[in-house]
């Protein structure tokens, strides 16, 4: 067995131990960098490289070479080609080449009943043409636009997946995948794609019964979306969480939690663990998170790591908390001290892997030297 294969086995074992509830040899590290960060780090043009995905192997390779991680530290899945072919309004590029999600309204408030009656038909007939301008046309032109976009999507994803495979082999990354599927909490789906942040915030007061019925109607679709091709306890479906911290607890209990819990439970029952990005401040919801199926992966952006470890650390898998902003403003020593502090709190008892609180999105959002130093510190010192 080659050294790289041995390394991959060792790294796979670190994560399997975390998932199996055993104490691994060392705290595993899984950080990721955005495609924008990677392109800038490689000194390439942001616009060009996102369109010409053939360049990505060389670009991602530099991240793998220079930043320690036990799993592949790059993962891009939103490419401008297919969004542009669709005339997308929900993912657009800003003037500096940064693809972003603006506020969209795919469903009008007066159309809730249509969605509730048949979410799938409503998405096809009303919502897609509104979000994707190229689909707002006659049936045959629409079919062609959709075919082109899907061709682009499969081409881009095919290229990306091949690149990931080669980098996994070259660098000996562990064989677990926390992004093996993707879905959203039903309430977040309704908010992000259908009604917008402002729209949903007023809907829960103006038409609460309809919102409740709509999230329920969306749940089977969200479950289906989150299913992976093969069940495995070592692969997870990624669910980035969004709206809950911005809502009253009372509203969360009624509109957000029941269907979200149903989603995670249904995925778990089918053999797919969930990997949650717990965005913003969820500290008042920790008791709810505890109720989710055992071994749900939770990467925290914010909050009290001690409390999280105490309340959730024996049942779930915790990650995150390391403030990317410190990598920008702190000295190298301050950055390493912060890592030590978090390891002391989160590592005991296992069920923890090291990650930042959020993905560094552009080169200038961190001091690269600090980021490297922290990762190397954890890799060398976080032994059990």
């Amino acid at each position: 067995m080659t050294d790289v294969m041995a390394l991959a086995r060792e790294r796979t074992q670190l994560f399997r131990d975390v998932i199996d509830g055993n104490i691994p040899k060392r705290v595993p590290i899984f950080v990721s960098f955005s495609i924008e960060f990677a392109i800038q780090y490689a000194g390439k043009n942001l616009m060009e490289a996102q369109w010409d995905t053939g360049q990505l192997e060389e670009i991602f390779d530099q991240i793998c070479r220079d930043f320690y991680s036990d799993l592949l530290p790059v993962n891009a899945f939103r490419f401008p080609s297919f969004y542009r072919l669709l005339g997308a309004r929900n993912f657009v590029m800003s003037s500096n080449g940064f693809l972003q999600h603006p506020e969209v309204e795919g469903l009008l408030q007066e159309e809730y009943d249509d969605f509730i009656a048949s979410p799938y038909n409503c998405i096809i007939e009303k919502i897609l043409p509104r979000i994707y301008t190229e689909l707002d046309t006659d049936a045959s032109t629409k079919a062609l636009a959709l075919a082109k976009a899907f061709k682009a999507f499969h081409d881009e994803m095919g290229t990306a997946i091949m690149i990931y495979g080669r980098l996994n082999q070259k660098y000996g990354y562990g064989d677990v995948n926390f992004f093996a599927g993707f879905t959203e909490a039903p309430f977040d789906f309704i908010s992000d794609q259908l009604r917008g942040f402002k729209g949903i915030s007023t809907d829960i007061r103006r038409v609460p019964d309809k919102v409740e019925a709509a999230v329920e109607a969306a749940t089977p679709l969200m479950i289906k979306a989150g299913m992976q091709p093969f069940p495995s306890k070592y692969n997870a479906t990624f669910i980035p969480l969004h709206m809950a911290p911005f809502m009253r607890t009372k509203d969360f209990e009624r509109f957000y939690w029941p269907t979200f819990k149903k989603l995670v439970e249904a995925l778990a029952e089918a053999g797919h663990p969930s990997n949650l990005f717990v965005e913003h401040d969820w500290m008042r919801y920790l008791d709810y998170l505890y109720e989710l199926p055992e071994n749900t992966i939770m990467r925290f952006e914010y909050g009290d790591p001690k409390l999280v470890k105490e309340k959730l650390g024996k049942k779930h898998i915790i990650a995150g908390f390391y403030p990317v902003s410190l990598l920008k403003t702190g000295t190298k020593q301050q950055c390493i001290d912060k890592a030590k502090e978090l390891l002391d709190i989160l590592a005991p008892g296992g069920r923890y892997y090291f990650d930042f609180d959020k993905v560094p999105i552009t080169l200038d959002s961190v001091n690269v030297e600090n980021a490297r130093a922290v990762l190397e510190y954890v890799a060398a010192n976080a032994n059990y």
Binding site: S95, N96, E103, T202, T329
Partner: protein, 226 residues
């Protein structure tokens, strides 16, 4: 706010409960019964203060503030209110030039901030999203605002915000305007790094800062708002 009648107290409570339909109905009724629009505004403001308090003690969240802003706007748009305030709308407490900085196209935080500023009597010039530093500077020259508000969601906006502040320094107008930066990722150190006068992670804090600045400016009489 002493000796309030039953309906006045009800209006304040309805605002506090964010009962949109009944606030608008009752406000309209009170105006038609001859209530002074300014007095009505005081009552609604009192309700809004209570909403603010509920927000501070975490009974209300952003979603509720959005609703509050909407209710406020609807009250201001009632016929009797617009006719009254069109006549004397020049008593704004300050002028704010606002925009999301270049590279970032998020507008929710900026829009909430704008709504709350307007509800608090500020005149706001909103330059939209993805705004280059040159445009901030040009519009500054045109409008001479008291305050410049830079918004951003993406963490890389730190450098972009700094570039805007630097552009104001270079143009020699940095000391003529207060600068506030807003975004969830901002901290005191980052604010210093950017060179802004203050920062806010939250729209209501931002409005408070702006109000305090305007009070300070009025006391010193440095800037003439008239």
């Amino acid at each position: 706010m002493k000796d309030l009648g039953k309906k006045e107290r009800l209006l304040i409570r309805l605002v506090e409960q964010l009962d949109e339909e009944n606030v608008v109905k009752l406000a309209d009724e009170l105006l038609n019964d001859g209530m002074d629009p300014l007095y009505l505004l005081d009552l609604v403001n009192e309700g809004m203060n209570r909403v603010g308090k509920l927000y501070e003690c975490k009974d209300y969240y952003i979603a509720d503030l959005i609703m509050a802003g909407l209710i406020f706007k609807q009250v201001l748009e009632l016929d009797k209110m617009t006719t009254h305030f069109y006549v004397k709308h020049n008593n704004k407490i300050g002028k704010v030039l606002l925009g999301t900085v270049k590279g970032d196209i998020h507008d929710i935080g900026k829009d909430i901030f704008r709504g709350m500023l307007e509800a608090n009597g500020f005149e706001v010039i909103d330059l939209g999203v993805d705004v280059p530093k040159e445009l901030f500077l040009k519009k500054y020259e045109e409008y001479k605002p008291d305050i410049l508000g830079l918004s951003g969601v993406l963490t890389n906006t730190v450098d972009t915000m700094k570039e805007v502040v630097d552009a104001f320094v270079e143009a020699g107008v940095r000391d003529k305007v207060k600068i506030i930066v807003g975004g969830n990722h901002l901290t005191e150190e980052i604010c210093k790094f950017i060179g802004a006068d203050n920062f806010a992670n939250d729209a209501s804090v931002g409005v408070k800062v702006c109000k305090e600045w305007m009070n300070g400016i009025k006391e010193q009489g440095v800037i003439d708002n008239g």
